[in-house]
């Protein structure tokens, strides 16, 4: 699903900002949470760890921890409680472990 999951109903005249999701630049608005910024641009937030499905958050109040995404350096962000900032770059799957052992 390339179109957005969330639908803006009001407050549409805020200043635009841009964030990068998996390398693709998308437009969002100042005051958006990262979750809203991502889900007005796309359908899901991240891959499930244990199935081949995706997740798109659940509680929107910082309780369920379903909406984790990652910075390029691998730090997790809780998308529902993080404010999107212009220039932010996130990935929707956990970056490969830089610490993997070899043998």
């Amino acid at each position: 699903m390339s179109q957005g999951r969330f639908v803006r109903l009001a407050e549409r005249d805020r200043s635009p900002i841009h964030i990068t999701i998996d390398g693709t630049r998308v437009q969002a608005m100042e005051g958006d949470t990262l979750m809203v910024a991502m889900l007005t641009a796309g359908g899901t937030l991240r891959q499930s760890e244990f199935t081949d499905g995706n997740r798109a958050g659940f509680c929107l109040m910082g309780a369920c921890q379903d909406c984790w995404v990652w910075t390029d350096s691998g730090h997790r962000l809780r998308a529902c409680s993080t404010i999107a900032e212009d220039g932010m770059s996130v990935t929707t799957s956990q970056p490969g472990a830089s610490w993997a052992n070899h043998g």
Binding site: M1, R5, F6, A10, E11, A63, C64, Q65
Partner: protein, 458 residues
Amino acid sequence: MGQPRVIIVGAGPAGVRAAETIVAAGLTPIVIDEGRRAGGQIYRRQPENFRRAYTDLYGTEAPRAKSVHDGFDALRDRIDYRAETLVWNIADGHVWTASGTAQEAIPYDALILCTGATDRLMPMAGWDLPGTYSLGGSQVALKAQAVSIGSQVVFLGTGPLLYLVSSQYIKAGAKVAAVLDTSSFTARITALPDLLALPSVLWNGIALTRAIKAAGVPLLTGVTPVAISGDARTGVTGVTVRLGDGSERHFAADAVAMGYHLRPETQLADLARCTFAFDELTRQYLPVRDPDGRADAPTPLYLAGDGARVLGARSAEASGKLAALAALSDLGQPVDQGAIIMLRREVGRYGRFARGLAKAFPWPHQQAAALSDDTILCRCECVTVGDVRRTMDVTGAAETNRTKAFSRVGMGRCQGRYCGHAAAEVIAAHGEFPVADAGRLRGQAPVKPLPIAIGEAE
């Protein structure tokens, strides 16, 4: 000796009124809140650059929301306010906080927990698909961000919030595909005497129902959820329910908001070693406290608002004041006994109304027995209903924590918030014993995930 150290956790209606009461007694409480802005969930504030009016956001409760916000703003330089701060543990008379990677242990002489509530969920086939949200979450999307969770939304569950949020969506111009209530209309008639404890609130509820119908949105009561259909990668495509006559109805949708009333966030009370007791009416364990909010715990602990028992925002304001007065009284501060009596009476009235709500919109526990084995029960760990039943059969586990240890149900990063009650029902139904005997998931720190980098800068 310095002044008594009072800590209030949570800045929703209960926390704000508790803080006001403590400040009025001449003390400076520490108010710790996870939110960026005070208000809690029900009176959640929109970001600073949003322009919608109070009445758009909070409807009939706009004056109350404004009063709570204004009340808090007036306190700002008379309290020690810690926003965006998590209390991740409580031990030995200290709360342990985390804000980013900064941490602190703060001692208290009185701790008032106003931790609020989250949605109470009963799983159904497909509730792990992208596009399924908690009912409260769907309200946050609208209230705090001016978005709808989808372009075609089904509201499914029960309780006053189902009607409130769906009508707010309609009013805001969202497309609502259906409002589907698992409770029967007759249950509402039975509950009427208790609901009359608050006639104006009851009337508001009836008005919401009318508004939904007037908008031409299908509103069905007494439904049984069958499945949320869709694709694991792209998400929800519709919802199927069974009606009272046994027929099934499918509603096309790309989003579902589901919730069966609320459940208190009791993890901190648990970590503070408060006693819990089973509540027959709502089928859950709740922290034990006296009518003023004094908990049965080893340190001076007070519980207020929906975090103690879900009685709604209006009651939260009163119980916040009451808990603060109880704390002040125990600290040897003079308190107005007349005010305490009035507040007890008020909270009592909300209690009667809440009993009515519990009867009118009952937790559909009987669904647990009917869930198919392949239904996801624990969304975090992807544990199915069948996994839990098989674990019980193989290991003899007959209690929630034991079943968790063997099957990982409730072991994920939400710590069982969204599956714990349902897991207890699944366990009780499969073991054929009362749900009280299934126990409750013990609270374990951290209340929410704690960065390993915590304290790094020190």
